[in-house]
Amino acid sequence: MKRMLLVAAALLLATGTASAAATMQKWTAGWDNFGEPLNYKKSTISWSVNSAKSTLTVTFKLVSATPNKLYQVGIVPFCTTFPATFGQFPVDLGGGTCTQLTRQGVTASAVTIELGVVTTDMNGNGSFRVVIGPVAAGTYDVEFQARDGAGCDLTGGGGNGSDCADDFQSPGPFGTTTTITIP
């Protein structure tokens, strides 16, 4: 019995080492739309790196957003140049030289990777979890974003129009980043 308990404890420790505790951060208003409803206290992004698998797991959670609405979510690495892919996801415009943008009075170069969609229920609540990887080793300075619809740079949605506008960002304001290291 004692041996079983020790084996269980060892397995638990091994799992904890490979996959770090999740980091949780808040959303702020986006860099394009500032009036989209959201409960900023309860809405979160949680992310964690699994160093053994070189994966990044991200959970996007929206609370009290517009009911029955699609919010396309993604990650925006700030960069000079960037590869064509981030894990199994293509980089918008194919990577290469990062695109210069000016938002909220800040000019920075970035690329965007579209990861998925948060669909809200009749209360405006929804979440989406994605595991990205394997991701190339490196240090990534990123913002997370939620767009004003679904279909920006993807097939089967609203296309590259008003749905591309940024409703929510994290950490924000534009250019304020989170550093994620993939060992």
Binding site: L70, P90, N123, G151, T155
Partner: protein
């Protein structure tokens, strides 16, 4: 130490008793579009009922679909009348009398619920998990569906057009009206 171990075992057993093992079923070609690519061997819908919480958990997995594409997923219930909501999700059209539809030579009365979106990666692979509930107790006769885009009966996508709302994949299928029965106690 022995007591701690026994408590841990008891907790584990109670957790597994409350949440049944998921049922996994395959996708088949949809009743509107028959040519959308999909690896039907690896793609699936998994669902399970938690009787304690009256919730239904579902994971929609697509493999080998069109890369970088949005597929709205949901449920079509075969019914006579239906409530205005299913858990926290509104029923399309507000519930009431279920609407007749004829596909693949079969006519059924339906009510629909939209649950979310599967976004595929550059390999055409993606998944989406949702927990619906609490759900009113009852026996639900239904098909799971994957649409040709995102925004059908929702804000912020391609809108309620044939291009977006056409059914690419159904489960169980292969024919419109082939159903799965889910009981919420």
């Amino acid at each position: 130490m022995k007591r701690i171990f026994l408590v841990a075992v008891a907790l584990l057993l109670s957790a597994s008793a409350a949440s049944a093992k998921p049922t996994t079923q395959k996708w088949t070609a949809g009743w509107d579009i028959f040519s959308e690519p999909l690896n039907y061997t690896k793609s699936k819908v998994s669902w399970s009922v938690n009787p304690t919480k009256s919730t239904l958990s579902m994971t929609f997995t697509l493999v080998g679909a069109t890369p970088s594409k949005l597929y709205e997923v949901g449920i079509d219930f075969v019914c006579t009348t239906f409530a205005a909501t299913f858990g926290q999700f509104p029923v399309v059209g507000g519930g009431g009398t279920c609407q007749p539809a004829t596909r693949q030579g079969v006519t059924e009365n339906l009510a629909g619920v939209v649950l979310g979106v599967v976004t595929t990666d550059m390999n055409g692979t993606g998944s989406f998990t949702v927990v619906v509930g609490p759900i009113a107790a009852g026996t639900y006769v239904l098909e799971f569906i994957g649409l040709n885009g995102a925004g059908c009966d929702l804000i912020g996508g391609g809108g309620t057009t044939y291009q977006t709302c056409a059914v690419d994949f159904q489960s169980p299928g292969p024919t419109f009206g082939d159903t799965t029965t889910i009981t919420i106690p």
